[in-house]
C-alpha cells in the first residue's frame, strides 16, 4: 500500500496520480477534513483513495516500513510499500516585544481563523511580515469587511523588483497579483518596513512601525504578522535514508501540486519529468531570494522578550548557548507543547543554530502509542 501523509494540495495531487496508475492509496491527515492550508473547508474529492482524517503520523520506521498513527480509534501501526511525506509548511514567527499579546496573530494564522469562522468586519488590522502571502491575507481580510490599515513588507524595493520581474513571466501569478492589487486599492504597502512592537494591557491596541529612520504608531484591533514559511520536516528526519520514503518539497499552491504529482508518479513506479514543475521551481527560487529576511530583524527582540512562548524563555536567557540543544537543556526553550515548532525556526534565524529540528516522537504522544510502537518493533502487532 502506498501511504501519503498530508491532504493538502501536494498530498491530494500525489494520491490522484497514484490512483491514475491503478494502485491503491491511503491518505493520512491530522486536520478534521482534507484540504491542507489553502483549501481548508472546501469540498475535496479524493476518489477511491482511503482517507484517514483527524489522524496524525507520529513516527516512521523506515526499515520495517511502518508508520505509527494516532487517530480517533487510538494508536495504529500501518505498513507501506512507499511513503509520501506531503506535510506542507507552517508560518515563521519572529519574536518582537508584544508578539505574545492576544490579538497578534500570524498572517496565515488569521487567514486560517477567518476561513474557520472568525469575523473581522470593521476590525482595524495591520498586516506585516514578508512574502506574497501577506497580499493574499490582506485581500481576504478586506473582502470580509476588515479595515486593513497597511501592509508592512520587510523586503526592500530592490529585492522586490526581481519578484516583480519574475511575475511578468508568469501569467497565472500576474493575474492573481492584479486581483490582489484591485482588492487592496488604497491600502498602503510599505516596503523595508516592519512592526517593532505591539502594545497595550491584555490585548493589542497599537503597533510601532519602522521603515528605515521613519517610525510611527498605528492603532489596530488585530495585527497579522508572519515572516514566510518553514517546512514541516519533522517526520523527514525519521526516514531520511529510506529509499521507500519520498519527501515532497512544498511551496505555493501551484508548486505544491506539481511536486505532489511528481511524488505520486514516482511512488507508483512511473516517474514523469515535467517542464511545468521545473518552471515552478525556478519561480519558487526567485521568490525565496526576493523575500529573504533582512538581518536587521535579528534585533527585533529585546533582552526581556520571550522567544519560547510555551515556557516563557526570554532572549536574555538564550544568549550564551551555542546550540539549540544546549539552550533546551538549560532553559527549557522548545520543551513545551509545541516542541520547538515556533521557537526553533526563530532561534535558527536569531542565533544561526542549525539543530532546531525535532527528535522522535514528532508530537507529544500518548503512552498507549509508545506501547504499540514497542510491540510493533517486537513483531507482536501489525
Amino acid at each position: 500500500m502506498i501511504i501519503v501523509v498530508g491532504a493538502g494540495p501536494a498530498g491530494i495531487a500525489a494520491a490522484r496520480c497514484v490512483l491514475e496508475c491503478n494502485l491503491p492509496v491511503t491518505v493520512i491527515d491530522d486536520n478534521p477534513a482534507p484540504g491542507g492550508q489553502i483549501w481548508r473547508g472546501e469540498a475535496i474529492n479524493l476518489g477511491a483513495a482511503q482517507l484517514l482524517s483527524g489522524t496524525r503520523v507520529v513516527a516512521i520506521d523506515g526499515r520495517a516500513r511502518t508508520v505509527l498513527t494516532e487517530g480517533p480509534g487510538g494508536p495504529r501501526t500501518l505498513h507501506f510499500s512507499k511513503l509520501i511525506l506531503a506535510t506542507g509548511s507552517r508560518e515563521l514567527f519572529l519574536p518582537f516585544p508584544g508578539w505574545t499579546l492576544p490579538g497578534v496573530f500570524g498572517a496565515g494564522g488569521i487567514q486560517a481563523l477567518v476561513k474557520t469562522g472568525l469575523h473581522v468586519a470593521g476590525k482595524r488590522i495591520v498586516v506585516a511580515g514578508s512574502g506574497p502571502l501577506l497580499l493574499a491575507v490582506a485581500a481576504l481580510l478586506r473582502r470580509r469587511g476588515a479595515d486593513v490599515r497597511l501592509i508592512a513588507e520587510q523586503a526592500r524595493p530592490a529585492a522586490l523588483f526581481s519578484f516583480a520581474a519574475a511575475l511578468l513571466t508568469n501569467a497565472a501569478k500576474l493575474k492573481e497579483g492584479a486581483g490582489f492589487a484591485w482588492t487592496l486599492a488604497g491600502v498602503p504597502y510599505a516596503t523595508g518596513a516592519w512592526v517593532e512592537a505591539a502594545e497595550a494591557e491584555g490585548h493589542v491596541r497599537h503597533v510601532h512601525l519602522r521603515q528605515g529612520n521613519r517610525r510611527w504608531v498605528e492603532e489596530c484591533d488585530y495585527a497579522a504578522i508572519g515572516y514566510g514559511l518553514v517546512p514541516n520536516d519533522e517526520l523527514h528526519s525519521f526516514a531520511a535514508d529510506s529509499e521507500h520514503v519520498i519527501p515532497v518539497p512544498t511551496g505555493d499552491v501551484d508548486l505544491a501540486t506539481l511536486e505532489g504529482a511528481a511524488a505520486g508518479y514516482e511512488a507508483a513506479g512511473q516517474p514523469r519529468p515535467s517542464a511545468k514543475l521545473e518552471r515552478a521551481r525556478r519561480f519558487g527560487a526567485v521568490l525565496a531570494r526576493a523575500f529573504a529576511l533582512d538581518p536587521e530583524l535579528r534585533s527585533l527582540p529585546k533582552s526581556d522578550t520571550f522567544v519560547c512562548r510555551c515556557e516563557d524563555v526570554t532572549l536574555e536567557r538564550l544568549c550564551g548557548w551555542d546550540s539549540f540543544r544546549a539552550a533546551k537543556l538549560h532553559t527549557r526553550c522548545g520543551m513545551g507543547p509545541c516542541q520547538g515548532r515556533i521557537c526553533g525556526p526563530a532561534a535558527r534565524f536569531l542565533f544561526g543554530w542549525q539543530d532546531t529540528s525535532i527528535r522522535p516522537p514528532a508530537f507529544p504522544v500518548r503512552i498507549a502509542s509508545l506501547v504499540t510502537t514497542t510491540l510493533a518493533t517486537n513483531g507482536e502487532t501489525s
Binding site: 473547508g41 494564522g109 487567514q111 486560517a112 515556533i342
Partner: protein, 79 residues
C-alpha cells in the same frame, strides 16, 4: 448558516455551525484563552494546530487546541 450555542466559562455564546471553537470564541469577544507560565494572557497565534496557544478545556478534555476543533451545539468549554 445555522447558529448553535456554546457554554464558555458558564456563559452562553452563539456560534455558526462549522466554525472552529477558536474562531467562535474570538468572534464572541473572548480575548484570553490561557495564562502562560509567567502569568501572561494568551490567545491563538497560528490558527493551524502548531503553537498550542489556543488550548482550552473542551468537554472535560484538557489542552484541546480550539483552532482544530469544530463547534458542536451545547459544547462546554473552559479557559
Amino acid at each position: 448558516m445555522a447558529t448553535i450555542n456554546l457554554l464558555v466559562n458558564g456563559r452562553v455564546i452563539a456560534a455558526e455551525s462549522g466554525s472552529s471553537v477558536a474562531a467562535a470564541m474570538l468572534s464572541s469577544g473572548i480575548t484570553t484563552f490561557r495564562t502562560s507560565v509567567s502569568g501572561e494572557p494568551r490567545a491563538p497565534l497560528c490558527g493551524m494546530g502548531i503553537c498550542f496557544e489556543c488550548r482550552v478545556t473542551i468537554e472535560g478534555q484538557d489542552h484541546a487546541r480550539s483552532c482544530q476543533i469544530t463547534v458542536q451545539d451545547g459544547m462546554v468549554i473552559t479557559t
